[in-house]
Symmetry: C2
Subunit: 452 residues, 2 copies
């Protein structure tokens, strides 16, 4: 038979079991945290009618999309989870209770140019809260709390949720009479971290056509930093000159005021007036999240408030707020930078039960009793030499092996060996389960991301 060399397409992540276990842990934390805030899990098709996905049309999306025909159908693979959500909410509008809160963790597809760290198939982990006509600012205030809890449970403390409000920016540029240029200005201001204030000013003058005076005003504005209280106090100085600005400031204050009640420490949160996110999509609070020791990674969780989710599919006005985590890229970068915790036990099995008797029935029954107690147990049934069984246990990375011979059976005991320390004890099956579960619980507390 002619063979085909096995390969996985470039741009498609495929993990070995130990890495997959770490990815699964991150997904479990996301599911669990989103659930605690009452978001409902949703699952929409990966393939949709191309017309539906491309309703907005144009731009990079159309070039990158996986689009093909099957029979008479013009099909496409989703390139994000927001467009399918818009379709879902418009389609099932009458069956949903608003505010509608959903989370979705799913694969999306973009045929980007293949390069290291760029994925064509990747997970997004999204939440959105969709209102019917209106949506209270409280929903925007809640988002930092969700982000905070996710990254804490990932094992991090040194991260910062950066927040701004698009109404503040729009109002400010309106005060300067620069509303029409605000898109260009925000794109330029976004480069502040990279190129510094002087060069930003140069670009404002030369490329955005902003006057010297206005440029100075802009630089003064985006230089506002300090504690949340200090930033808000400085912003108060601009109040009363533009309605949109005042509304944005009031929203920002609501977000900041409730941080404490939502359990977000001030050190993990900062108002940052340089953040703008997508230019025509977001209309209120916007979010970015950075790892303080790894600013080079960029924002690991972003989103914001938008005014109309599904305008291409329905006349209903559906404002919302949402965030997205690009999970595949995040995982890839963490792994590249050795930030995934090697101490986390990532074996799919807690205990390998090895029969040392003629027949395996006693070992099987022991494994069943361990499973009933919650231990992930595997019986090693192959007819191999003991040394080979140990080689298997080591390659598997299993924390415990459980040996069951005739002597142990006679005493209703078993021998449990910790493969990391080599320590072996002879205990009852109940004690074995407790010992293994205690270690499993400890491991469940183990951070998946290292802070270093």
């Amino acid at each position: 038979m002619s063979m085909i060399k096995p390969r996985t397409l470039s741009g498609f992540m495929e993990l070995l079991p130990a890495k997959q276990a770490q990815m699964e842990r991150m997904m479990a934390i996301l599911r669990d945290t989103y659930s605690l805030y009452g978001f409902a899990p949703l699952d929409t098709p990966i393939i949709e009618d191309a017309q539906i996905l491309l309703a907005k049309g144009g731009g990079e999306t159309e070039k990158q999309i996986y689009r093909f025909t099957k029979g008479d159908s013009d099909l496409a693979m989703r390139f994000d989870l927001t467009v399918p959500l818009a379709k879902y909410v418009a389609l099932h509008y009458n069956d949903l209770a608003f505010p509608f809160r959903r989370y979705q963790i799913g694969k999306v597809y973009r045929g980007e140019r293949a390069q290291r760290g760029r994925f064509r198939e990747f997970y997004q982990a999204d939440i959105d809260i969709i209102g019917d006509g209106k949506l209270d600012i409280l929903n925007e205030a809640e988002i930092p709390s969700i982000i905070y809890n996710i990254f804490r449970r990932f094992g991090l403390t040194r991260f910062q949720i950066r927040v701004n409000n698009r109404k503040i920016l729009n109002g400010f540029y309106a005060m300067l009479g620069l509303s029409e240029k605000s898109g260009d200005i925000m794109r330029t201001v976004d480069k502040l971290d990279k190129i510094g204030a002087d060069k930003v000013k140069g670009l404002l003058l030369s490329e955005c056509g902003v006057s010297e005076e206005a440029a100075d005003e802009i630089l003064k504005f985006i230089a506002i930093t300090g504690s949340n209280g200090e930033v808000i106090a400085a912003l108060e100085g601009y109040a009363g000159r533009n309605e949109i600005f005042d509304l944005g400031l009031s929203e920002l204050k609501t977000v900041c005021e409730n941080l404490g009640a939502f359990g977000v420490p001030e050190e993990n949160f900062a108002v940052d007036l340089t953040i703008a996110r997508g230019l025509d999509y977001y209309t209120g609070t916007v979010y970015e999240t950075t790892l303080l020791d790894h600013p080079e990674i960029g924002s690991v969780c972003s989103g914001g408030r938008y005014d109309n989710l599904a305008e291409y599919y329905t006349t209903q006005k559906l404002p919302g707020v949402g965030i997205s985590i690009g999970l595949t890229r995040l995982f890839y970068v963490l792994d590249e930078q050795n930030l995934l915790n090697p101490e986390m036990n990532s074996c799919a099995c807690d205990a390998l039960v090895i029969p040392m008797t003629q027949t395996p029935a006693a070992a099987i029954a022991l494994a069943q009793s361990l499973r009933t107690a919650g231990v992930r147990a595997q019986v090693y049934g192959e007819q191999k030499k003991f040394k080979q069984k140990m080689t298997y246990a080591n390659k598997l990375g299993v924390p415990y092996i459980v040996l069951l011979g005739d002597d142990e059976i006679a005493e209703n005991k078993c021998s449990v060996k910790d493969m990391r320390t080599g320590v072996q004890v002879t205990v009852t099956p109940e004690e074995a389960a407790e010992l293994i579960l205690a270690d499993k619980r400890k491991n469940a507390e183990c951070a998946v991301i290292l802070e270093k």
Copy 2:
């Protein structure tokens, strides 16, 4: 703006939140049960090189596959989880510990003719155990225990795992000198339930070219029924005439002997000599699972032992055993037949916290404390009349609302109302959490599938 009518492609399942919650429960049971037996979760790309997926080539697969080009690449969407597993194991052979145990719950794609209950995108939930060169019969003996635990946790007792061994069939037909016709014969025998013994005999004579005498032997053989002990005793009568038969019988005995140790009651298990499954793929034990009160659904979990997983990609001999659950179709059929338990609370939220005060901070803090205790809590932040808030709670289907007014805050209490009974109590936040969690635990025990 011109609108596009939102729709979901036919053959693609998209569930409303309550149904999705039931689907998620089934997936969680699958993940959890597979994990308890030490299977590692795996996630492979949905898109693969078309050459890889079609290595085996031919047949229905090639017609049904979603295949397309992107740039220079000839791509295809996976149509099952077995071919990607074969590629994975061949590709990562050196990094895996064998026996390699993996589970995968993922979407697969087949462009079948659209009809009710047929899906083009559907979940398969698979496990496989892959050996390197050899794989002990004990692995085959373990599979019924996994199937048993899954369906018990789904809430069922009235199901049966039916088992046969292909070596017994192959050996038996060899005894009759009918090895070359065994494929046709098995296909005919497979119709026994539907058309009865007389018609099967007719077909054996007219279409399979079997002699009268041999046809009688075949009918006598497949008529063997009774307890596992009785069937095995009857099979012993054929022993000693064909090596393959004897090996198959010995394997079947090992499977049956260990059922007790694996915790599978005899009433949920039957040796059934009419089961053959795929004709050229399986080589040892084969499995089917039927719901006793719904035989019309057919097998809901099937699989078997095969000798060579990845022959198209590697010269390594990789025998394995696996089962697959067609989850989307199973869910669809259960729903159609009203077998999904309506008593299961399928709201994504355990408690809706409703602020009754000027500012929401106290309600937010209460919700956070409920979350810390494990309650999935949502704060209702919209500025609506109380009646509208109740309408929302009812439409959401939330089991509890928690009301927090100034009086309650002064006493460090909150009012918890059970939306199903209307009973309202005023308790401390800790008591509220305990009350809600007790109900949540009860619901977690609730069967997802009804037995009726």
